[in-house]
Assembly symmetry: C2
Homo-oligomer: 199 residues x 2
């Protein structure tokens, strides 16, 4: 933006542009919008963000976001703590809970192994996961994304766990619900064929 745009407006746009998925054009639109909001609403918005960052921390067991020492899922006695579902990020916990059908507990890695980005086993919450396995855990479900990093992380961790005589499973591959064969990519289709089930 040029010299006829007030500096605070440019700075606000630059801050928005740092957020994931927000391009410079959208960031500018949001910054202009902030100036048209009542000052009290802008203050409220700012306070909410600061409060969220300062009051939310990681559960001491599963590393999911929580306000307490122990998250609601870990402190829920109805959940089956012998099954641990390993995910990359807290948003994945929400996704699986929303889908329903899983009543075990979680472990949030807060990242994936990525040699390209220099992310090694010590940079994600892997040590905490291994420590939990000394208990009465019977199955670990690797629910990382089906990407290169997600696959690599799942296979790295499963290699460490298998010798401990704990069952390790991976989310099923196949066609997404409502998909059309015509538009499915080759890898997905090949895997759906490979993992076909008798009906």
């Amino acid at each position: 933006m040029a010299e006829y745009v007030p500096l605070p407006l440019i700075l606000a746009a630059e801050q928005f542009a740092k957020l994931p998925g927000i391009g410079m054009k959208t960031a500018q639109r949001l910054a202009y919008h902030i100036l048209t909001m009542p000052a009290a609403e802008v203050n409220g918005f700012a306070d909410t963000l600061v409060t969220a960052r300062s009051s939310v921390r990681c559960c001491s067991v599963c590393r999911n976001f929580t306000e307490k020492e122990l998250c609601t899922l870990c402190s829920d006695s109805r959940r089956d703590s012998t099954i641990i579902c390993v995910v990359e990020a807290p948003r994945d916990v929400s996704a699986i809970e929303r889908a329903g059908g899983f009543d075990g507990t979680y472990h949030v890695l807060h990242g994936l192994l990525s040699p390209m980005d220099g992310t090694g086993p010590e940079d994600i919450h892997m040590k905490e996961l291994m420590e939990r396995l000394s208990g009465n855990v019977t199955e670990v479900i690797m629910a990382t994304n089906p990407t290169v990093e997600g696959e690599a992380t799942a296979s790295y961790i499963s290699r460490l766990i298998k010798p401990m005589n704990i069952k390790v499973s991976r989310l099923a591959y196949g066609l997404p619900a409502g998909a059309s064969l015509e538009f499915a990519d080759d890898v997905t289709l090949a895997r759906a064929m490979e993992n076909r089930n008798l009906i």
Copy 2:
């Protein structure tokens, strides 16, 4: 989001969802991102928004956003103050300045007439525009968007100005640069035909 998601995270997502063009899904992604940012960065982000809202105000002449009493465009003696380009919002000033070729001044309405939404002439900066016309203004360019409200506002204002013996013009209608006739909508194509120029 459900009870296993910390409340401050839900509140942050709701705040993001209030911004224009940000749906609930994107808002949740942004809220999760805020929690992964260093606390100092979140504070900086919040401060920048509050500062932008509190330090930026409207230019006393053209109502464009500025930090001073008079915006840089109005205080620039090289700009032709006898020509006023009327726009809906400050972002439109940026768009026209970016395109280049205009060296007059602006007037920002901060809205458009919209009987459906109850926005009348007194709700937009029209009175301030009329007051500026008592000077040595020779032309007013109506540069509101080519939408129903934009057209209505342009024609309403031009009807008020014409009796004052000031030239009133409207941005040209036609095909956008790089457009394809095949995909142009009927109204645009009809107007492009109507306003055709000799070459």
